[in-house]
Subunit: 357 residues, 2 copies
């Protein structure tokens, strides 16, 4: 299997990307196409010295999208970027998946433009794997799909379930809806509508609302929300973790004895950091486009890149997109059947009413 990798994306590109690609090429049965500045990439490959040359090739891209580029501008103005070229390889069937640790918004915009959404999917969404007390869950959308309708929530649920099925190896992943628990109004207008659609959908295993306070307890395999709530949940979590880490550091460096004790506990803190870090998972897929597109964290090191490529490889091998396409189609047909049924039931009810009057 051939996988295209954006060699120019990320804070430590191309060095860590190339290193990660070599690690992945050594470990998995894949061929990696590094896309980007040929000279720079070759330099990094040469530095690495001993790498499986038959499993790595390079395709040149004239431009590179930076982390500061505005997505809407980059997608139109940098058409020869490594992101565009990499995604074109997927589009043409010359690669089965694409990985980038670059500008999330730009990769998303380019993927939507070049790969196009899967039939039946209105809004491709980014899913992130979050650790929790019971294991992991996928939360989506964490991209920028704000102001979503019920049907989008259902599509997120279907796409998230397909993703969870593959990465968590669960036959029927449970789906929860991120909402608030206040009585009277369990959620806002859009989540209340989504709740009603999700609970009647036979294609997912819906288990009801997941409140914010339950997010890290772990109850649902898939947590669906619109991109606004998802972004708030994810970023606030990061901010809270950062703040706790900051306070912890302050407390542990207050005097000599604390410093010494903290030194002994260094491996514990490092292990904690690793376990709480959702970016350890390698990357978040853009679900719902025609092709596998994995977006890694900007700060990805070689190991994170390797993990991201692994996710890309698994999702491609297990045909994530066929699964999504089938289920979305089935759900749309089901909705049509439901609508027709509701229509006839309404007519019957009216007829009964008229005849009984």
């Amino acid at each position: 299997m051939r996988i295209a990798v954006d060699a120019m994306g990320g804070d430590h590109a191309p060095r860590e990307i190339v290193k990660g690609a070599i690690l992945a090429a050594k470990e998995y049965d894949i061929h990696i196409i590094l896309v980007g500045d040929k000279t720079l990439i070759q330099q990094e490959l040469d530095k690495a010295g001993n790498y499986p040359k038959e499993k790595i090739s390079v395709i040149h891209a004239e431009e590179a999208i930076t982390m500061d580029d505005l997505p809407s501008v980059a997608v139109r103005k940098k058409r020869k970027s490594s992101v565009h070229e990499g995604l074109r390889l997927v589009k043409k069937g010359e690669a089965r998946a694409f990985f980038s640790a670059g500008n999330t918004g730009a990769v998303m915009a380019c993927a939507k433009l070049i790969l196009r959404p899967i039939e039946g999917v209105d809004r491709p969404a980014i899913g992130a794997v979050l650790p929790n007390a019971k294991g992991h869950s996928v939360i989506l959308d964490i991209g920028a799909n704000v102001d979503c309708k019920s049907i989008h929530f259902l599509q997120f649920a279907i796409m998230g379930s397909a993703y969870a099925k593959i990465v968590f190896q669960k036959d029927e992943p449970t789906v929860g809806l991120l909402s608030i628990g206040e009585e009277d109004l369990k959620g806002n207008e859009s989540t209340k509508n989504a709740f009603n659609l999700l609970k009647t959908s036979p294609l997912i295993k819906f288990i009801g609302n997941v409140e914010g306070k339950e997010l890290y307890k772990g109850g649902a395999d898939v947590v669906v929300c619109d991109g606004f709530a998802g972004n708030i949940a994810l970023k606030v979590s990061e901010s809270a973790a950062w703040y706790i880490g900051k306070l912890l550091k302050e407390e542990l460096t207050k005097n000599f004895i604390r410093k010494m004790a903290a030194l002994i506990l260094k491996p514990a803190f490092e292990s904690l950091k690793k376990r709480a870090d959702y970016t350890e998972y390698g990357g978040a897929p853009l679900l719902g486009v025609n092709g596998i597109c994995i977006i890694g964290h900007g700060s990805s090191n070689a190991n994170a890149v390797k993990n991201g490529i692994k996710v890309a490889y698994e999702l491609a091998e297990q045909r994530l997109n066929q699964l999504i396409e089938e289920r979305v189609k089935a759900s749309l047909e089901r909705l049509k059947v439901d609508k027709v049924e509701t229509f006839w039931n309404n007519i019957k009810d009216r007829f009964k009413k008229i005849t009984s009057d």
Copy 2:
């Protein structure tokens, strides 16, 4: 100043409530009216023995609202509850403020019903004080005002600013809008509209969007959002902190050496817990009702109750509600002026266009 305290609300009521009331009575120049089951309250007072008898009185309430009571039911069916009676004391002017560590939803519902919203305030909101790297900020609404319009965001901003002015002693508290930072769509429909209104309002010091990732960095004194986003932000923070604490505990008890080092660091962890705990602040006010109503955390101990009563005392003394009322009125008048101006400007523009054609 007389302050009514719900002796029956909270996980440790009436014991901790009565203890906290005694602490507050000793420390501040106030008179406390304990509202609830007279016999139970008297038992607790007797246990305390030496307390300032002239500064504490008891008013009997036949019923008590439990933590499991549904707010909408409790507000109608338990009209003789300690919450109802306490709020009635404020309504009648027999107390200047009310504190309860009971059922948040029920206290909010009763306060809205009995005290009524301040003129010009459409939706009373709960504001919570969150710690951050630079100090503290108020976030509101964390109650249940979902699906808010721009005008509600403006009212939250005005009420939050008045509150921050008093508790942070800042003349012009800065206001941020909780939103997401994705380019193209900086927020959802409702926050984008709110942004436009907030930035033109001269009555607040608006500094723009606050992203989730910035929440604990501390940039704005007041962070406004609808009750859905606010609830998600607050509860997800709690959940993340809980999860990190859980992982930390697991890591620190893995072997004997770690256990010993962790024992040395116990004071550091306790201090951390205290600093990160937003409930340490004593209570969250329900802003925008005619009367001061402070809602404490259900798990409040005597010290938290004392802090909550202190907040109630300060807000009453510094006339929070007059401040809110004046500013809301001024903002409404300003909006009218703006509307009339826009109206005339539009007419002028049209006239110019007609005459130049």
